[in-house]
């Protein structure tokens, strides 16, 4: 019973997050431009990747 509740919780979290994520993707300019870069096949131009350039630079964003 407890594990069923856990499974339901995971489903709820993922479902809600997909909705919130969708809204952010539409509303946040950084995400909009990232999605657009992805759709054009230019992942290197992704603004999100650029903000992370100095964070763990040894770990490449594209592997």
């Amino acid at each position: 019973m407890e594990t069923d509740r856990g499974a339901r919780a995971v489903l709820i979290i993922v479902g809600l997050s997909l909705v919130i994520g969708g809204i952010v993707l539409m509303a946040h300019p950084l995400y909009r431009r990232t999605l657009s870069a992805w759709l054009k096949g230019e992942k290197e131009a992704s603004p999100i990747r650029q903000t992370n350039a100095r964070y763990y630079p040894a770990v490449g964003a594209a592997r």
Binding site: A7, V10, L11, L16, I20, G21, G22, Y31, Y56, V59
Partner: protein
């Protein structure tokens, strides 16, 4: 259930309880050794006793098993507990002690000059000579023997050669070896001398001169500890070793854990094989090999390093963080800061084995786990922007080092541009805000994270309809990988062991959660401590186990208590809680005053009484509005939070950090559920993102949602850090903690305790009633005595503790009647390392010595090295009065920066960047900025009801201007204690010194003055007033561009006549790294300091000169007739 092994039967329970007993007894043994270490000469006996005890226990258990099994009772406890305690004691000493093997004992008797030693070693070793009895006259000694020296084989690029099997290649050269000649002086009993020349064979000891000496020869262990030089001494060594940990990558450096295999102690000398200890190697981004080592792939690389090898610095003052102990607890005994200078051979390089293309890899499983982590991080960097990605990397993958210098999302608003230089960089790092908000535990991967991940995967496996018995081992493997990628810290290991046990017991043994916690906690603790017993008092261990034990033992009793809150009683509770919270926000200092608690107790009792009277009149309201019916599981969350705060945060946070993040008690109610969502989404999006083609878009959507939740979390922490205080609190002593946890135990088992006390008269008819009263009295005494014993009482001794605040000044003064005064507050670094000396040194010391309130804080100067930290003292210590230089008055009154700049630097017509910056900083500390929550002098005045605009120098009040009058005076035992200001001239209003006199003794604290002021002091005051047994000299500072001749002239003109006139017995100098204060001028200041040191050494005996940089905290003590000075370093 078919096929399960049941541990719930009598025998099963017996086994479980025996395991629990053994584990706790082992921990008790460790604690015993930590508290009272066993003398080294008894260690071998201890090991033998442990082996004998276990043999006897095994025999008794085997015999009882044949006789039908052991029963619980005293015999059971003794048979299992005694060997376990001994095992704990032995294990602790085996881990702690690096033993020196005895080689020979030489008794020097008349006539002979040659003494055979005859000892052979299988590797080069160094010899230590201990003088048990000194010779009757000066003697010289010399050792001879042989050395089979190992020289590294090098390739054509001069790199050391290593095979694919990981064996370094050496060639051996055997030659006769003789030590340098050592002198043995009469009266040198107990001294030790180390012979630096290595030997593999000892033949003869030559002695010339004195007679009657007894010498013991010991072989120094080839442990890193014996090779590391004290901090500050430089002589490069060469290390051949291997990177045995995941590199810690910060944005400004990378730290490697290296296990050395061989070490060349002297250039061109032999290589010693290293037997124990690890080295922490730091490289900066400007190093040519930085790229190679700042990645997880560097794990497992063989390396050759050439740099200084130094040991960690010990704590410089009581109550301070002890880096040496901390690193030793992690088996790190040396540090190397690797730099590369032009033209020098490589200082750090990865060595590729012969016949191989790439460096060797580490453990395959760890390599796989770290590679998986990097792939997950790469996905996070694709789908979440910085700085939320850094936060997510820390909470999901344990990459907290990347978050260290990450700025917060929310900068302070409306900063006055004129003052922005000093304010803009303060307290705006995510890491700092998390600490102040009490939520930084989410950055240290712990039980919370492991449990969230366990629950997430259990949910996923259940959704996929996979049976528990099949997914349990898979889940355990996932948890082990998670532990590896997050650094396998004790808190993670504890949680992984416990969750694995829980899953195993749930899947195969049909046991419940409570049962697995009771068994899991001691077993996890035993496994971690068996591996490294020094972790026993490490915060990462104790905080983790404290949290789980608090949750397991205290949540239930708190919940049962809170469940009784109904109707108006619940309303009364909410009102009392809200009032208490409001008091925290307004003035948390009240919490340390008993009067506040009396008033609050009366208020809460009145509320409770009203609630109890009203509730029966409104039964329907009581039914609907009660604690147990709080929605969304808030009731359990509140009880659990209360348990964590009471059982772990309050006592252990005070013990380790001398601070309690009050905000945590509130913020965690939201932060913990929120981080549960963030971790699950982070994990899911990182894993989905690794699926080619179809995984990217879902990962981006989940990443976008996580950006939202992460921003929420960071914003929450920021708001809490701004709103709530992060106070310092007195550090509890061992007895206080014992009493506190005794109280917690009474609360948890209060029912059993009450029953026991009630039934005492029945059990013991004779004197039972007396025993009943005695038991209650004993319990009360246990609580009262430790607290009462710590209360400060007059000692009749005046003390001045000069604190090691690096470049700056801060002194804590204790008067004979026990009052507490402060001088200066040290420097606060606004950029680079952001060292806040008040928070790092002064306040922790005050918390340790239980002196967090002060009657008077005196500022000898408005220079930032005195003033900056003082604002933190005003904020965190309960200061009654403040004495400031008179030059502060116009600044407080008018607040005009250009006017103040002219006031500070009257001789200057144009202002350079430094003058402007100094004036700006002073302005900031005195007046603050409109939006800044820092406790400035102005705020202090406002709090005491003094309008800053009407500030008058001559006005009595909480802020007084330093003039000619005594600042403090008291009589104790017929002797007068007085603090008198010393000003070089009537017109000098921006700096002063102090004369602290008690009875026939006096000390001068002149840190705030310039060296030239010493001559003015001599002209202005009577010689008698300047005489004192101890003097704290002005901090080394001089004009820009000064040279050695200028300094020497100043010393001759001002210092020499002053010291000649004063003739002090002791001289104290405050010094430390001047770079944060003086910037590019730091080299000049260091040169000046060196010249002053040389000057003093020529003038006085070395044991009468105390320097805070070298000796740590310096204490000047006087009983009114004799004054003595001690350093903390010597005290130890």
């Amino acid at each position: 259930m078919r096929g399960t092994i049941r541990l719930s039967g009598r025998r099963g329970n017996m086994v479980k309880q025996s395991v629990i007993l053994c584990c706790y007894a082992f921990i008790a043994g460790l604690a015993l050794s930590r508290w009272r270490p066993c003398p080294p000469h008894l260690h071998d006996w201890m090991y033998a006793l442990t082996a004998a005890a276990w043999t006897a226990a095994a025999w008794l258990i085997w015999r009882d098993a044949w006789a039908g099994g052991m029963r619980r009772g005293l015999r059971w406890v003794l048979v299992l507990a005694v060997p376990s305690v001994l095992l704990g004691v032995s294990r602790y000493h085996a881990a702690r002690i690096v033993s020196h093997e005895h080689v020979a004992r030489i008794e020097v008797d008349g006539g002979d000059s040659m003494y055979p030693v005859d000892a052979e070693f299988d590797e080069p070793v160094r010899i230590k000579i201990v003088v048990r009895r000194a010779p009757d006259a000066l003697a010289t000694i010399r050792l001879t023997g042989q050395l089979a020296a190992r020289q590294a084989v090098r390739d054509e690029h001069e790199r050391p050669v290593i095979g694919t099997d990981g064996r370094w290649h050496f060639r051996e050269v055997v030659f006769p070896q003789a030590s340098e000649t050592l002198a043995l002086r009469p009266g040198a009993e107990g001294t030790e001398q180390i012979i630096e020349q290595p030997f593999t064979e000892l033949e003869t000891l030559y002695v010339e001169g004195g007679d009657g000496a007894v010498l013991e020869l010991y072989r120094l262990p080839n442990h890193v500890d014996s090779f590391a030089r004290p901090y500050g001494q430089s002589a490069p060594v060469t290390v051949l070793g291997r990177v045995t940990g995941d590199p810690h990558v910060y944005d400004f450096k990378t730290v490697l854990d290296v296990s050395p295999a061989f070490l060349q102690f002297r250039s061109g000398g032999t290589f010693y094989p290293v037997r124990g200890g690890r080295i922490r190697v730091t490289i900066k981004p400007d190093h040519p090999e930085y790229e190679t080592f700042s990645r997880a792939a560097a794990y497992g690389y063989d390396v050759a390093i050439r740099s200084d090898l130094t040991s960690s610095r010990p704590s410089a003052f009581p109550g301070g963080f002890d880096p040496r102990r901390f690193y030793e607890n992690h088996n790190i005994y040396g540090h190397m800061n690797v730099r590369q200078f032009n033209g020098d051979p490589p200082s750090l390089e990865a060595v590729i084995p012969i016949d191989a293309e790439t460096p060797r890899a580490g453990n395959r499983f760890i390599e796989f786990s770290l590679d998986l982590r990097d792939r997950m991080l790469a996905v996070i960097k694709e789908v979440v922007p910085y700085p939320q990605s850094a936060f997510l990397g820390a909470v999901t993958l344990g990459l907290r080092y990347g978050l260290v210098n990450t700025p917060t999302l929310l900068k302070p608003l409306g900063t006055d541009p004129e003052l922005a230089g000093a304010a803009a960089d303060r307290d705006d790092y995510i890491f700092e805000e998390f600490k102040a908000a009490g939520v930084n535990h989410v950055l240290a991967v712990s039980g919370l994270h492991v449990t969230i991940i366990t629950l997430m995967f259990v949910g996923i496996f259940t959704l996929l309809r996979i049976p528990r018995r099949i997914y349990a081992p898979v889940l355990i493997l996932i948890l082990v990988i998670f532990a590896v990628i997050t650094g396998a810290r004790p808190s993670t290991l504890r949680a992984v062991i416990m969750n694995s046990l829980f899953m195993t017991m749930l899947a195969y043994l049909d046991q419940n959660l409570r049962s697995s916690i009771l068994l899991g906690v001691p077993v996890a603790a035993f496994l971690i401590l068996m591996h490294n017993p020094l972790m026993l008092t490490d915060p990462s261990f104790t905080l983790s186990f404290g949290a789980i034990l608090s949750l397991a033992l205290l949540t239930g009793p708190f919940y049962l208590l809170l469940k009784k809150l109904k109707g108006w009683g619940f309303v009364a509770f909410i009102v009392a809680y809200a009032v208490l919270s409001a008091c925290v926000l307004v003035r948390w200092h009240w919490f340390s005053r008993p009067g506040f608690w009396v008033v609050f107790a009366l208020f809460a009792s009145a509320l409770s009484y009203a609630g109890a009277r009203l509730t029966p009149k409104h039964p329907r309201f009581a039914m609907r509005f009660c604690f147990a019916r709080l929605p969304l599981g808030l009731d359990y969350l509140f009880a659990a939070q209360l348990a964590i705060q009471v059982g772990m945060m309050l006592p252990l946070s005070a013990l380790y950090f001398s601070r309690w993040p009050i905000a945590g008690a509130y913020v965690n109610m939201i932060a913990i559920p929120l981080v549960g969502v963030i971790i699950q989404l982070g994990m899911l999006s990182a894993l989905l993102g690794m699926i080619p083609f179809i995984g990217s878009l879902p990962a981006l959507i989940l990443g976008a949602a996580n950006w939202f939740f992460s921003s929420l979390f960071i914003g929450l922490a920021h708001t809490a850090a701004e709103a709530f205080p992060y106070p310092f609190m007195a550090r509890p002593t061992g007895w206080m903690l014992a009493a506190y946890y005794g109280g917690c135990a009474l609360f948890i088992w209060r029912g059993a305790c009450v029953r026991f006390v009630r039934t005492l008269p029945e059990k013991l008819p004779r004197g039972g009633r007396i025993l009943q009263i005695a038991a209650v009295a004993a319990v009360l005494l246990v609580f009262i005595v430790p607290i009462a014993a710590r209360r400060s009482s007059p000692t009749g001794e005046a003390q001045v503790h000069v604190l090691p605040v690096e470049y700056g000044s801060a002194c804590s003064l204790v008067t004979p009647s026990g009052k507490h005064l402060l001088i200066g507050g040290g420097f606060v670094e606004e950029t680079r390392g952001r060292r806040n000396q008040a928070e790092r040194v002064v306040l922790p010391y005050l918390a340790y010595s239980h002196r967090l309130s002060a009657d008077l804080l005196m500022l000898p100067s408005l220079k930032p090295e005195f003033l900056a930290g003082a604002t933190d003292l005003l904020r965190y210590a309960d200061v009654n009065r403040l004495a400031v230089p008179a030059s502060t008055a116009p600044l407080i009154r008018d607040g005009d920066l250009p006017a103040f700049r002219r006031f500070c630097f009257p001789e200057q017509t144009s202002f350079g960047a430094e003058a402007t910056e100094t004036a700006r900083k002073v302005m900031h500390y005195v007046r603050g900025t409109d939006d800044d929550a820092r406790y400035t002098i102005e705020n202090f005045m406002r709090f005491h009801g003094l309008p800053p605009r009407h500030f008058n120098c001559d006005m009595p009040g909480p802020v007084i201007c330093i003039g000619e009058n005594d600042l403090y005076e008291e009589e104790y035992g017929g002797r007068c204690y007085r603090v008198r200001p010393l000003r070089p001239d009537r017109n000098v209003v921006d700096r002063c010194g102090f004369r602290i006199e008690y009875g026939d003794t006096a000390a001068l604290a002149l840190s705030g003055l310039r060296m030239s002021d010493l001559t003015d002091l001599r002209r202005r005051y009577d010689a008698a007033l300047l005489c004192g047994q101890a003097v704290i000299l002005p901090i080394p500072d001089g004009a820009e561009g000064e040279n050695k001749r200028d300094v020497l002239r100043e010393l001759e003109q001002h210092m020499e006549p002053f010291l000649h006139a004063m003739d002090p017995d002791f001289v104290v100098m405050e010094f430390g790294n001047p770079r944060p204060v003086k910037g590019h001028r730091y080299r000049e200041i260091v040169n000046r300091y060196e010249l002053i040191k040389q000057f003093l050494s020529r003038r006085m005996a070395e044991n009468r000169i105390f320097i805070t940089e070298r000796d740590g905290m310096v204490s000047i003590n006087s009983d009114g007739s004799v004054l003595s000075v001690q350093s903390w370093d010597n005290n130890r």
